[in-house]
Amino acid sequence: MSDYIFYPGCAMESNAKAYYDSLMEIAQPLGINLQEIDDWNCCGATEYVGINLIPAYSLIARNLALAAKTGQKTVLSPCSACYLNLAKADYYMAERPALGEKVNEALAAGNLQYTPGSLDIRHLLDVLINDIGLDTLKAKVVRPLKGLRVAPYTGCMVPRPDYNKRWSDPEHPTELIDVLKAIGAEVVAFPGGATCCGGHMTQIGPDTAYELIRRLISSAEKSKADIMVTVCPMCQLNVDAYQGETNSHYGTDYEMPIVFFSQLVGLALGFPPEKLGFGSEITSTEKALSRIGMDIPEAAITEGKQRQQEGLPMPLCMRKTAKTPECKRPCAEEAKA
C-alpha cells in the first residue's frame, strides 16, 4: 500500500460523486491508501485568482499547510483544477519569493505555515501510471473492456502547464491512453484529447462553451467512439450536463456519454456499475456499456494504426510511452550505427 494525502476538492462531493465513489472502490485493490486532509477548503478554482491574488494563493496554501502537517509528502488530487492550483501555488511561491513570503504572512494569521517544495502534488492519473504501474493494473483486470471504443479525454489542466515535468506531452499526452489500453478498451484516435471543454464559460459565456463542447463531441463521434473518458470533474460536467444545451444551440442530436476513467477501471476490476457511480450521468452510458465484450469491426481507426504501407516512409516513431520528451535522437543515430 502506498500512502497519499488526499485532497478531494469540492466537485467530488457534488457533481463528480461518481468520480469519488469509483475512486473509493478501486483504491483498495490497487493499493492506494488515501488519508483525506482534515478540514480542507476549496482551491478557488479559476475564479479567485482573477479577483485578488494574495487571498487566492493563501486559500490554496491553507490546504498545502494542512497537508504538510501530516508529515506525509505526496498529495493526491483527482480533480484537474485542484491539482493545478495546488501545484501552481507550490511552484510560484518558490519562483516568486515575494509571493511566498506574503502568503506565509497571511497563513500566520491562522497559525499555519508552508514551505514551498515540501510536498509533491500529484494527479490520480500520474499516481496510477507511475506509482501503481500498468503491470499491477493489468494483473487486477478481471473483465477487460473489450469492444468498448473509448475517446481518451485528458483535458487541459493535467498535462499543462506541467510545472514539475511529470507528463509525457503537453499536447498529446499518452498516460490516459495507456491506462485505457491496460484495461482492455479499444482506444480510438481522438485529436481533441487535450483540448478545452469550455471551463467556466458554460456559466459566463455559454456561446463560447457550446462551440468548444461541440468540437469535442463531434471529434469523438467522428473517431467512432462509444464513450468519452475523462480525468476531470469540470470536463465531465460540461460535456455531459451541457450536451443538451449544445445540441439545442446547434440543432444537433449528439449522444456522447462521458465518464471518469476510474469508473471504467472499476468495471474492469470487476465492480458492479452501480457501485461506481454509473447512472448519475445526464447523457446515458447504457448503450456504450452494452458494447463491452463485443468485437470491434475492422474499419474502426485505432490509435497508432495510421502508418502507411506504401509511398514514402514515415519518420521513426517516438516511443509512445517515453516518460521524458527529451529527444533520444532516434532517427539520425539509429541510421548511423
Binding site: G311, P313, P315, E334
Partner: protein, 668 residues
C-alpha cells in the same frame, strides 16, 4: 611583513589626465608608497600625468637603469589595457618583464567611486597589494616550441573540405577525418542553394573529388578521432578506422554488390528517412570515396549468418566480413575542428504533428524530395508517394527562437524557407503559405531573393504557427491539414487548409559536442556550441593553442560563412607552420616532485590533459606546453606540491596581506 629580500621597488602613480586624479588624491598615494612602504623596499615613488606616454615609460626605464630597480609597480589603468606596455618598458631597461605589476586604480577605483577620501584609501590599499605581490614575483622566461608541419582536419563537410584544400594547395600535408562513409556533409543532401539557386551537387562534388584525390590530403572516412595527446605544434592523434567490411585497395567502386544486395532499408542518413538504401551502401553515387560500407545491423549475413550475396557478386573479391577496426596514430602540429551540426528533432514540437501527421515534412526531407537524384526523382508529392499537393504551408523557426527548445536563431531557416517557397512554386504552381515570426535576410543578395519570392506570389503570414492538426471543425476542413495561426498583422486567428506542411527545422550542436570538446580540450557555450577564443576578433581560434574551429561547430551559419571560416582557419594554420615555432605565455603550473604524494587528484582536474602520472616514479608531471595556466590544480593539490608561475600562492597571499594592511594597522 617586512621585505627581507631587500628589494628595490619603484612605484609610479598615474594621473591619467584627470581620469584618476579627479577622484584619487594621487599625491597622497605616492607619499604613502614612498613613506608607508619604504620598509617593504620601495625606494622611489613618483606620480606623472600620463604614465603610458613615451616620457612616462622613459621615466621607468631611466629609474631601472639609474637606481637599479628590481621590481616595478605602476598604479594606473586595468592590466588588460597596459600591462604589456609597462612590461615591455621594463624589458627595454633590462628588467625581466614579469617583475613589473600593474595596479588598477582607474577602472577599479577612480571610475567607479565618487567619494575622494574613500577612493584614495582604496587606491593606497591596491598599491600596497601590488607592492607586496611584486616582491614575490619571479623572473619568467617565455617558452618556445616547434610546429609540426602536418595538420588534422576533423569533419568533411564543406568547411572542413575547404580548410583541407587550402592547406593542401599550399603544399602542406592534411589528415582529413570524417566519421561518415563519405565526405560532403549536410550540403551534399541539399538540392539548390540560396540565394543563387546553384545546384548543391554541382558546386560541391568537384570539391569533394578534389579533396578525395589530392596528393597532400590523407582522406580517412568512416573514421573517428579517439585520443588527442600533446600540445600546440606537437599533437599526437589516434584515429579509429571503423571496418567497412571491404578491402579498399581491391574495390573498384563498380557498385555491383549494392545492386545485388537483397536487403532494402529506410535510409535515415543521407536520404533523411524518406528514401531507401541497401544493407551495403554508399551515401550516394557521388560519394567520396567510392567504397561502400556494410550496415551490420541490417545485413543478412551479420544478423543471420547467411546470404553473402555481396561477396559472391564482387568481381575483385574485395568483401571482407572479418575486417576489424584499426587504430592509427599520427603527429600533427595543428588541428581544425569542422564537426558541423545536427538537425533539430521536429517530433519534439508535438503540436506540429511531425511523425504523427503523414504530410508534415521536415526541411531536410523536403531537400531530398526536391533533389532530382532523391527518392521521388525531384517530384514534390505527399507521403503517399504520388499525389501532388495543391497547397503547401512552410513554417519557420521550428525548434529555434523558442525557449522550450533552442533559444537561438538558426540563421539559415528564413532563407531556406524562401528557397522552398520558390521551388514549390516553380515545380507545381501551388498556393504557398509562408509562416514567419520575423523575416531575417541580412546577407548579400538575400533580401533580393525575398523580393523575388514575394513577386512569385507566395502568401506570407506573420505569426508563429500554433498548431497543425487534422481535426476538422467543419466540412470544408475535412481531409486537410489545418495550419492554425494568429495572423498578427490582422490580429485574428486563422485556420488555413493545406495539403502539405514543411517544417523549417533549426540547427543544433552535435549531440556529442561536449565529448568532442573534452577530447580536444575546448569548451562549449551554454547552448552547446564550441566557444571561440574571441567571438568577434578571433572567431576561429579556441582557448587551446593549436586548435582551430570552422563552420557550424561554433553556431548556425550559411554556406558562404562556413567556407570563409574554413579558409580562415587554414590561413591561421599556415601562419603557424610558416613561423615554425610558437611562443607560449609563461603562466604555467609545475609539480615539485619531491613533495608530490602521487594521489592523482590533479590528473582528472585538468581540462587540457596537461597532467600525466609517471607510473615508474609515482608522481604527477605537468606538460608546460599543454598547461594553459588556469591554476585549478595548484589550488587542488592536497600536498601543496604544485605551484603556478605568475599567480603563485606566495604572490596572492602577499597581495591579500597588502590589500588589508590598513585594516591590520588599524587593529593594531
Amino acid at each position: 611583513m617586512s621585505n627581507d629580500k631587500t628589494n628595490k621597488i619603484g612605484v609610479y602613480v598615474c594621473h591619467c589626465g584627470t581620469n584618476i586624479s579627479h577622484t584619487v588624491d594621487v599625491a597622497k598615494v605616492r607619499d604613502w608608497a614612498a613613506e608607508g612602504l619604504g620598509s617593504e623596499g620601495v625606494v622611489i615613488a613618483r606620480d606623472y600625468k600620463f604614465m603610458c606616454s613615451s616620457p612616462g615609460q622613459e621615466l621607468i626605464e631611466q629609474d631601472i637603469k639609474e637606481l637599479g630597480l628590481d621590481r616595478v609597480v605602476v598604479a594606473a589603468c586595468s592590466p588588460h589595457l597596459h600591462e604589456l606596455t609597462f612590461r615591455n618598458a621594463s624589458k627595454r631597461a633590462g628588467l625581466n618583464p614579469y617583475l613589473t605589476e600593474l595596479a588598477s586604480i582607474r577602472e577599479q577605483v577612480s571610475w567607479v567611486h565618487t567619494d575622494k577620501e574613500a577612493a584614495t584609501e582604496k587606491a593606497k590599499a591596491v598599491v600596497t597589494g601590488a607592492v607586496e605581490r611584486v616582491i614575490e614575483n619571479e623572473p619568467l622566461e617565455e617558452l618556445k616550441v616547434a610546429i609540426h608541419p602536418d595538420t588534422l582536419v576533423v569533419g568533411g563537410g564543406i568547411a572542413g573540405i575547404q580548410a583541407a584544400l587550402e592547406i593542401a594547395n599550399a603544399g602542406k600535408k592534411v589528415w582529413l577525418v570524417e566519421r561518415e562513409a563519405s565526405i560532403g556533409g549536410h550540403m551534399a543532401q541539399f538540392d539548390k542553394t540560396f540565394p543563387t539557386l546553384d545546384c548543391a551537387a554541382c558546386i560541391l562534388t568537384p570539391r569533394m573529388f578534389e579533396a578525395g584525390n589530392h596528393p597532400n590530403i590523407e582522406l580517412m572516412t568512416w573514421s573517428e578521432v579517439t585520443n588527442v595527446a600533446g600540445y600546440v605544434g606537437n599533437f599526437s592523434v589516434t584515429i579509429k578506422k571503423k571496418p567497412r567490411y571491404l578491402k579498399e585497395e581491391l574495390c573498384t567502386g563498380c557498385r555491383i554488390c549494392i545492386e545485388k544486395c537483397p536487403t532494402k532499408v529506410v535510409d535515415q542518413g543521407y536520404e533523411a528517412g524518406i528514401g531507401y538504401r541497401k544493407a551495403i551502401y554508399t551515401s550516394s553515387a557521388q560519394a567520396v570515396p567510392k567504397y561502400p560500407v556494410i550496415d551490420t545491423e541490417n545485413c543478412n549475413f551479420f544478423q543471420k549468418g547467411t546470404c553473402k550475396v555481396c561477396e559472391k557478386s564482387c568481381p575483385t573479391e574485395a568483401i571482407d566480413y572479418e575486417q576489424k577496426e584499426e587504430f592509427l596514430t599520427v603527429d600533427v602540429g595543428n588541428i581544425i575542428l569542422a564537426t558541423g551540426y545536427d538537425l533539430f528533432d521536429a517530433r519534439k514540437v508535438s503540436n506540429y504533428g511531425y511523425g504523427r501527421l503523414p504530410n508534415v515534412f521536415t526541411s531536410i526531407e523536403f531537400e531530398r524530395m526536391c533533389n532530382a537524384a532523391g527518392p521521388t526523382s525531384g517530384d514534390i508529392v505527399l507521403r503517399d508517394g504520388k499525389t501532388t499537393p495543391k497547397t503547401v504551408g512552410i513554417i519557420h523557426c521550428v525548434g529555434s527562437r523558442d525557449r522550450n527548445y533552442n533559444n537561438y536563431c538558426s540563421n539559415i531557416c528564413c532563407m531556406q524557407s524562401l528557397k522552398f517557397a520558390h521551388l514549390v512554386k516553380e515545380r507545381t504552381g501551388d498556393t504557398v503559405y509562408d509562416f514567419y515570426i520575423d523575416m531575417r535576410t541580412p546577407m548579400k543578395a538575400y533580401d533580393e531573393f525575398y523580393q523575388r519570392v514575394l513577386e512569385e506570389g507566395t502568401l506570407f503570414v506573420r505569426g508563429k504557427v500554433a498548431q497543425v492538426t487534422d481535426a476538422a471543425r467543419k466540412a470544408s476542413e475535412e481531409g486537410k491539414l489545418m495550419v492554425q495561426v494568429e495572423d498578427t498583422l490582422i490580429g485574428k486567428q486563422r485556420r488555413i487548409p493545406v495539403d502539405m506542411v514543411i517544417l523549417s527545422i533549426g540547427m543544433e550542436p552535435r549531440h556529442d559536442a561536449k565529448e568532442t570538446g573534452k577530447l580536444f580540450g575546448i569548451g562549449c557555450s551554454a547552448n552547446g556550441w564550441f566557444t571561440e577564443k574571441h567571438a568577434k576578433l578571433d572567431p576561429i581560434s579556441t582557448m587551446t593553442e593549436g586548435i582551430f574551429i570552422a563552420g557550424t561547430a561554433t553556431g548556425p551559419k550559411d554556406i558562404p560563412t562556413s567556407v570563409a571560416q574554413g579558409s580562415a582557419a587554414a590561413a591561421r594554420v599556415l601562419n603557424m607552420i610558416m613561423r615554425g615555432e610558437v611562443t607560449l605565455e609563461p603562466i604555467k603550473a609545475s609539480v615539485y616532485q619531491g613533495q608530490c604524494s602521487g594521489c592523482r587528484i590533479c590528473n582528472s582536474l585538468c581540462p587540457f590533459n596537461a597532467i600525466t602520472f609517471l607510473e615508474d616514479r609515482k608522481v604527477s608531471e605537468i606538460n608546460p606546453a599543454l598547461c594553459q595556466g588556469c591554476g585549478t590544480c595548484v589550488a587542488a593539490c592536497p600536498a601543496g606540491a604544485i605551484s603556478g608561475t605568475g599567480f603563485s600562492n606566495d604572490q596572492i597571499l602577499a597581495q591579500i596581506d597588502g590589500l588589508l594592511m590598513d585594516v591590520t594597522l588599524a587593529d593594531a
